[in-house]
């Protein structure tokens, strides 16, 4: 059951990822990316990491992608024209390099895959357990990231502010 669900979502992830880069329309690409993020969230949920999965949807698909879409629409970008038509060199070497990379990656994943997967502990991946880890084990990295976010937020406000003359 889980395996079937995984294959369905994995297929969705790959298909939407390909759409993101092949579609010439920026809005369609953004929507495909949003689909991709939701499908990845579903895979997180299948792996018992429900908190990460839900946050992925809320933060990335629900907030960041909407903002990106908002900007694309404001700029009113239309179909993107091909700047340079791909030459023979690119057409031959591009797929070849991709193929080699895929083989290397596939072999690495296959070689490092464990033969059996342990069951997740009770309460694994819930908001409570993730929160506990964040505020104990990963306390300093967590605070550093919070600081970084505040700095970037203040910077954004400062840049966007009208000059007080």
């Amino acid at each position: 059951m889980n395996l079937i669900a995984f294959y369905v979502f994995a297929l969705l992830i790959v298909a939407s990822a390909i759409t993101v880069i092949t579609n010439r329309n920026p809005v369609a690409s953004a929507v495909a990316l949003a689909f991709n993020l939701v499908a990845i969230a579903a895979v997180f949920m299948l792996l018992d990491a429900q908190f990460i999965g839900l946050l992925q949807v809320i933060v990335y698909a629900g907030a960041i992608m909407v903002l990106i879409l908002f900007v694309i629409m404001l700029l009113n970008l239309r179909e993107e024209a091909r700047a340079h038509p791909a030459g023979t060199f690119q057409r031959v070497l591009g797929p070849l390099a991709t193929l080699v990379f895929a083989i290397v990656l596939g072999r690495a994943v296959y070689a490092s895959a464990p033969s059996s997967f342990p069951e997740a502990a009770a309460g694994f991946g819930t908001a409570g357990s993730v929160g506990k880890e964040l505020f104990t084990t990963f306390y300093y990295p967590f605070e550093a990231i919070s600081l970084l976010l505040i700095v970037s937020m203040v910077g954004a406000v400062l840049l966007a502010k009208k000059k007080l003359s």
Partner: protein, 352 residues
């Protein structure tokens, strides 16, 4: 596995619950379209639709038949796939969000304990926000793909509005989470058992959180006074100007389901969900009598908020766009932050 085994398996029970909630929601949507038109008529001192069936109750069916018959128009130069997808994106997230709302207690049917909630998730509230957060795509994509200026402005307004009002909405819910200490809606409702002053609306800073949640909820569902994405006076019909027939109806379906989810979420978080609100000793023993009373309590509470939505819509005028943004960022956001801080203080003083 024999037939009885299959019919009482967990998967089958989930299917029953999904089917039941789905049909109840669809029924409520059609009733709500009738209620909206009748109540607006009463408020404006006229009769409203009263010809089809008793009191005009069959009007939604007539509307449905009309919508199906209408020509499905796709504007020239429209981005076709996105244009066709947008109405579905309005309905699906709205339906998904309702999955985590508990509409009754844990009941025992034929010796099997069944929780009256489709998805009893530990992070249930996050699920609801994730689903409602995706609802904005429908408006934005409908606005953009229609290739019409009115639609585009409606879509832009909706994304700005929904992002702005999501903050006070989520912050007011965070205050409730501080009180309850859990994200699981079922547990939140169970904690509010007993007399009505145990409800979360009276905890922390009484009423403030609920008020903020309700106002932000109106903005999130694009209802008057915050219906700028479809402001008729300025934008024809906003993001769904170009839509016709069943696709146009799908946006309305999404809006009404969102209203239902927002009301149900408010009832669950602040007003005790399916709790009746009287001391437990007054109630009968757990059994069919108690369970049906509790489900009825939930339905009645949600129905009241549905009515409130309609009442407000035909009473309060629409805000101007700058007023809307000022209210959101300078009014509701600081107020909800203050509410969160004050609730934290109250929770610390009261102790665990």
């Amino acid at each position: 596995m024999d037939l009885v085994g299959i019919l009482t398996s967990d998967v089958a029970i989930a299917v029953y619950k999904i089917g039941g909630v789905f049909s109840a929601l669809m029924l409520c949507v059609s009733i709500m379209t009738w209620v909206e038109r009748r109540v607006s008529a009463i408020i404006q001192y006229r009769l409203g639709p009263n010809r089809v069936g008793p009191f005009g109750l069959l009007q939604p069916i007539a509307d449905g038949i009309k919508f199906i018959q209408k020509e499905d128009i796709i504007p020239a130069e429209a981005s076709k796939l996105l244009y066709l997808m947008a109405p579905a994106l309005a309905v699906i997230p709205a339906l998904c969000a309702f999955a985590v709302i508990p509409f009754g207690p844990e009941v025992t049917i034929f010796g099997k304990a069944i929780k009256l909630v489709i998805l009893d998730l530990d992070g249930g509230l996050l699920w609801a926000f994730a689903a409602t957060g995706l609802g904005v795509y429908a408006l934005v994509l409908a606005g953009w793909s229609s290739n019409s200026k009115f639609s585009l402005i409606g879509g832009l307004r909706s994304s700005a509005q929904m992002i702005s009002y999501e903050l006070p909405l989520v912050l007011s819910v965070t205050a409730v989470i501080l009180i309850t200490g859990t994200l699981r809606p079922m547990t939140i409702v169970e904690q509010q058992a007993g007399a009505f002053w145990h409800w979360n609306v009276f905890q922390g800073v009484p009423f403030l959180g609920f008020l903020l949640f309700t106002i932000a909820g109106y903005a999130e569902t694009n209802r008057t006074p915050f219906d700028l994405p479809e402001a008729e006076g300025e934008l024809v019909a906003g993001y769904h100007t170009e839509y016709s027939g069943m696709r146009f109806a799908a946006f309305f379906m999404g809006e009404y389901i969102n209203m239902m989810t927002s009301s149900a979420l408010g009832v669950t978080l602040f007003l005790g969900g399916w709790q009746i609100g009287v001391p437990t000793s007054w109630l009968p023993e757990p059994g069919w009598a108690l369970w049906s009373m509790q489900i009825a309590a939930f339905v009645l509470k949600v129905a009241f908020f549905q009515f409130l939505y309609v009442w407000v819509r035909w009473t309060v005028p629409r805000l101007r766009y700058d007023q809307l943004m000022n209210l959101g960022w300078k009014g509701l956001l600081p107020a909800s932050l203050a509410n969160l801080a004050a609730t934290a203080v109250v929770v610390v003083i009261q102790g665990p």
